[in-house]
Symmetry: C3
Subunit: 213 residues, 3 copies
């Protein structure tokens, strides 16, 4: 039952892993890291959020460390990010679309796994967000910059909406399958529209901004 959430969307889940790893590999290459550094960042982006989720719900050892398919995806993404770097950069637009798919799938699978482990709805929503965006946040920490997802755009907020739909569906006893599809579509749609129309959440610049205390 626990592994169920991984049997149903295995292709989407692996695709999300691959795309997240690719985004990490491209960012790490730009920073001039060596080949092992590129692999480490790629692995972190792809599996970091899920590992934090698994630690928090008590799924030991974390799936990201035990499932060799994830490792294969990360290795493939690292190689492609290095060898076809120019192509990947040209394909920036499609990559953002795939990234939105990864975001949606991870938000939904994170919330589902928390529910399967019988945790409450708050845990499910928070860990849905963590699964979807945790890896990207760790990537930016390792690359020594303020996590981009905290600064702009509809991103983590789309993950929150996706995870919340899963929780509402669970509360109303709807079929988890149907609800998951709806949640993925809505989360993806929000992110895609946000990208297309350059939606940003409000921030509050003032004269003091960018200054530390």
């Amino acid at each position: 039952m626990i592994s169920e959430s991984y049997n149903i969307y295995p292709l989407l889940d692996l695709m999300g892993t691959f795309i997240f790893a690719l985004s990490g590999a491209v960012a790490a290459r730009k920073k001039g890291l060596d080949i092992f550094g590129i692999f480490s960042i790629a692995f972190t982006v792809a599996c970091g959020g899920g590992i934090i989720r698994d630690l928090c719900i008590g799924a030991i050892p974390p799936a990201g460390l035990t499932n060799w398919l994830y490792l294969v995806m990360v290795l493939a993404a690292t190689l492609i990010g290095i060898v076809f770097n120019r192509t990947v950069n040209i394909l920036n637009h499609p990559v953002l679309v795939f990234d939105a798919v990864g975001l949606s799938v991870f938000a939904v699978s994170g919330a589902r796994k928390a529910i399967v482990f019988e945790h409450n709805y708050e845990v499910a929503i928070l860990l849905g967000i963590v699964t979807a965006v945790g890896g990207g946040v760790i990537r930016d920490i390792l690359l020594d910059r303020v996590p981009v997802i905290l600064r702009k755009e509809i991103y983590a907020s789309a993950a929150m909406v996706g995870a919340t739909i899963v929780v509402i569906g669970e509360y109303l006893h709807y079929s988890l399958e149907t609800v998951s599809v709806v949640a993925i579509v809505v989360c993806f749609g929000l992110r895609f529209l946000g990208l297309h129309f350059h939606w940003n959440l409000p921030s509050f610049p003032d004269k003091e901004s960018e200054k530390d205390k």
Copy 2:
């Protein structure tokens, strides 16, 4: 029994959560993060230290993810940090005082929870410190700066004194209630006096300082 440490000082605990979240929200707003980024930093400061503590003592899932009262405190602090930003900045001095209360309460409740989970005294002291300062450290990492508490002032050291008093009291079989009050008062007093008199722990500047290897 496990939740006992949360029934006794619930008001102080929630106050500490609120104040820590407020300090995170103000710092995130200054950095120009969007509304979701501000909430994320506020949540991290308020609940991050406790989540690390709970992972280390095996309290799964962490209280910071399951107790909706914490979430309400963080949401309230986020809103107040955004709407009343000017007032909060003027109130800098009172906020530092409340922050000292949060530090003291979290150091004591962290050490107590480790003891309740039957871990040894070293774990209790180390996790008392982590509970009190962990959130602030993660905040500074996310905002891309060297954690301020590592650089100056009596802060983590006050938390260590508070957690140590709890452990000594436990060892001498004193009432946990009395000991906790003493520990909170001493920790708060140290931090408050440190702020007032600008006490700093020694550091060791030399010609090479601030240079990386």
Copy 3:
């Protein structure tokens, strides 16, 4: 049985802890941190990787928090890093050699502990690497720079080779003792030769490098 991996190489393990803590103390002192900050960084470098490993394999509470010998090593390293700072800097070369010993011992003990806890080979290799390099990565994050081990040199890759030898030996049912000695020697040799001959893994600089998206 669980503690077995700590009874066999206790001296090497403690020596690795001490050296890692010393490297953290020296780096933190250079950054101008206060005495508590120096201790915190030293503790993090020495015990951080092992704590993450223990959380991932379910060894609660982590050994780094319960074994007072580690704490003594860290305290001693902090004091020596502060008092004999000049000497330690002159001894840079020997310190790098001891650090290579720590790297090798931690990579092997990390992989062994994962196997003892009956996790699969992928977990053992990944956590061997994490045990060996995790602390250094957290140190660099706290000191606000891109982790040096991701940028250059044979370092994490030597740890991977060491952990992989342990796993291959386990798979072939060789004596864990013999295999561990071989793994430590090979890992140390790789790191030492890499230092001596300035080996670097390939990185991929281009006109766009060092620019963020």
